[in-house]
């Protein structure tokens, strides 16, 4: 599976074989199909777009049409080992509530999002005074699905506030590479942030 997006490859490494997975906003099912083949995972993708659901069915991925803005009340507590949300957090109406929901139905959560704190974003806004457009955020402000953009520091502040424990963090550049400097200054240098999280014991 050399065609797999590098961020998805990192996620794959985080997942124990045979796990039960829920993939929120699973798109065309690429990640789940990969995980089913490489990690023998079972579970479902949730997706709202009918065309993407067809693409999942073509891959043999179990996919359920769902609107993430309506929550995950269909699922029982701790029904999954991992709940994944790749590049979707920034597109939902209630990202804070969804984060907590994913950690209710799953033992652990894996979240990836475009880091709005990246230096290019800061420069773009600083110099142009306009909303940044980049490879990770290719839309204009009025037609973007991304309505809740955040930075690495924003995300970590929310986690701290909600008692969410960060188990692992990985930031990459647009080509999904990382280096020591990036690990030192993730909010400034990272384009994409990947987190493995869980609800801290209360």
């Amino acid at each position: 599976m050399s065609a797999l997006r590098p961020d998805l490859a990192i996620i794959s490494d985080w997942i124990a074989p045979g796990s039960r997975i829920l993939d929120l906003g699973c798109g065309d099912g690429t990640l789940l199909a990969h995980l089913a083949g490489e990690r023998e995972v079972t579970g479902y993708g949730l997706e709202i777009e009918p065309r993407k659901i067809v693409a999942c069915l073509e891959k043999g991925v179990s996919v359920i049409q769902a609107d993430l803005d309506k929550g995950l009340s269909d699922f029982k507590d701790q029904a999954f080992d991992y709940v994944l949300m790749t590049q979707t957090l920034q597109a939902v109406h209630y990202p804070d509530e969804l984060l907590q929901e994913m950690l209710r139905v799953g033992r652990e959560g894996i979240v990836t999002f475009p880091n709005f704190g990246n230096w290019r974003m800061r420069l773009y806004l600083g110099f142009h005074g306009r909303m940044p457009i980049s490879r990770t955020l290719p839309h204009t402000w009025y037609n973007t699905p991304n309505i809740h953009l955040c930075t690495v520091r924003d995300f970590e502040a929310l986690c701290a506030e909600r008692g969410i424990e960060i188990l692992e963090r990985h930031v990459t550049d647009q080509a999904m590479h990382d280096n020591a400097l990036m690990r030192q200054f993730p909010n400034l240098l990272g384009d994409v942030a990947l987190y493995r999280i869980r609800q801290a014991a209360r």
């Binding site: 479902y44 009918p50 065309r51 659901i53 069915l57 073509e58 043999g60 359920i64």
Partner: protein, 384 residues
């Protein structure tokens, strides 16, 4: 194949009949001593016998799911949109079986068949059957055809209910369930509509307590009324508005101030009612609506649908339609949730359409694409 039949049709098909002598015990406590099942098949059974698909029909359907009975046939089978070469149920890859259910009026033993004990039509003596009884009879048909395991059992509406019951009763005899526009049980409103339809038939003076065959009459008005009512519930408000609006039939666009046909929709419904009488039996309609009313697999599991589905092994595809107010998407979601509770493989799609319950018979692109994608997966799995 004759020139004027479409190339993506299974073409001219013929029906077959099988006689069963082993009595069939029924949920109502009675049993059928012997019975016939009429069926059609399309495509070829492969050497491994792994590519068989059972299609279950809905309320007014029959074994004639696809193709034409003759070159003069005006209309193809009821699911021509989805069954044929290259179609979602691809007859180039699958061996497709569709039978007329017991109690039907298209050849399988039903109320209009001769009761061997009395040598006259069963009429009201024909036992009320259930979805489970049908599934048992279909399992015997599968045995007779040498099919140990269906690659999938597929159906819409009442047909989808049979597919679900198959997964419950014979978990190891099917790989997949495809249930479209379905519900895990009827609502009080659904049962209410069925009761009005039945009352229309039962109170027709020509019904004769169900023995109208012997009186050489047919409760035409009652059956037509029942169909008109049913037809309204299968469409959506939007679909009827788009099709008819408030268009008047007569010239001049003036009201006639009487009870003749004035609106286009009245004309359409009366036509639907009339033509239904020519192809359907009133006793069968009564029986089929009762089958719908009785379906409730959760009932014997303390009304816990998750418990009812706990032992299914089949993988599921459920599809619902946004404007289906007879079996709205929320009813399909109950099944999805029950399967999720059990960690069973399930895929679910809700199709945005204005066509109402009848949408499951229509070639709506995203619906047929999803259906096709899923069936292709099954074909790969079984080596078809």
């Amino acid at each position: 194949m004759p020139k004027h039949l479409p190339a993506d049709s299974v073409g001219i098909v013929e029906q077959h009949s099988l006689h069963f002598d082993e009595p069939l015990p029924l949920d109502c406590g009675r049993s059928l001593p012997a019975y016939d099942l009429v069926y059609e098949t399309y495509g070829e059974l492969n050497a491994e016998r792994s590519n068989a698909i059972l299609i279950c029909h809905a309320l007014s359907g029959s074994h004639h799911a696809a193709g034409y009975h003759s070159e003069e046939d005006r209309k193809p089978g009821w699911w021509e949109a989805c069954v044929g070469p290259g179609k979602p149920i691809d007859t180039d890859r699958f061996y497709v079986v569709c039978c007329n259910n017991l109690g039907g009026c298209h050849g399988s033993t039903g109320p209009s068949s001769i009761n061997p004990e009395t040598h006259r039509p069963y009429g009201p003596d024909f036992p009320l059957v259930t979805v489970r009884d049908w599934v048992h009879s279909q399992a015997r048909l599968a045995d007779a055809l040498g099919i140990e395991r269906w690659a999938a059992v597929v159906g819409g509406s009442l047909g989808g209910m049979q597919a679900i019951q198959w997964a419950i009763d014979y978990p190891d005899r099917l790989g997949h369930v495809v249930a479209i526009a379905v519900a895990p049980r009827l609502s009080a409103q659904n049962i209410g509509f069925n009761e009005v339809a039945r009352q229309a038939i039962l109170t027709d003076p020509e019904f004769h307590g169900g023995r109208y065959y012997e009186h050489h009459t047919v409760p035409r008005r009652g059956l037509a009324l029942a169909r008109m009512l049913g037809h309204i519930t299968y469409l959506s408000d939007d679909a009827m508005r788009d099709k008819f609006g408030r268009d008047l039939r007569a010239d001049g666009g003036r009201y006639k101030f009487n009870f003749d046909v004035e609106f286009e929709v009245e004309s359409y419904l009366r036509y639907q009612g009339r033509s239904f009488v020519d192809r359907f039996d009133a006793n069968t309609y009564l029986l089929m609506t009762k089958v719908l009313d009785y379906f409730d697999p959760a009932a014997e599991y303390d009304h816990d649908l998750s418990a009812a589905l706990a032992h299914v092994q089949a993988r599921f595809l459920l599809i619902s339609f946004s404007s289906d107010w007879r079996f709205p998407p929320e009813r399909s979601r109950e099944i999805v949730r029950a399967l999720e509770d059990n960690q069973k493989p399930i895929s679910y799609l809700e199709v945005e359409t204005s066509q109402g319950h009848d949408a499951f018979l229509k070639p709506i692109p995203v619906y047929t694409e999803a259906f096709r994608a899923y069936m292709q997966g099954i074909a790969r799995e079984v080596g078809a």
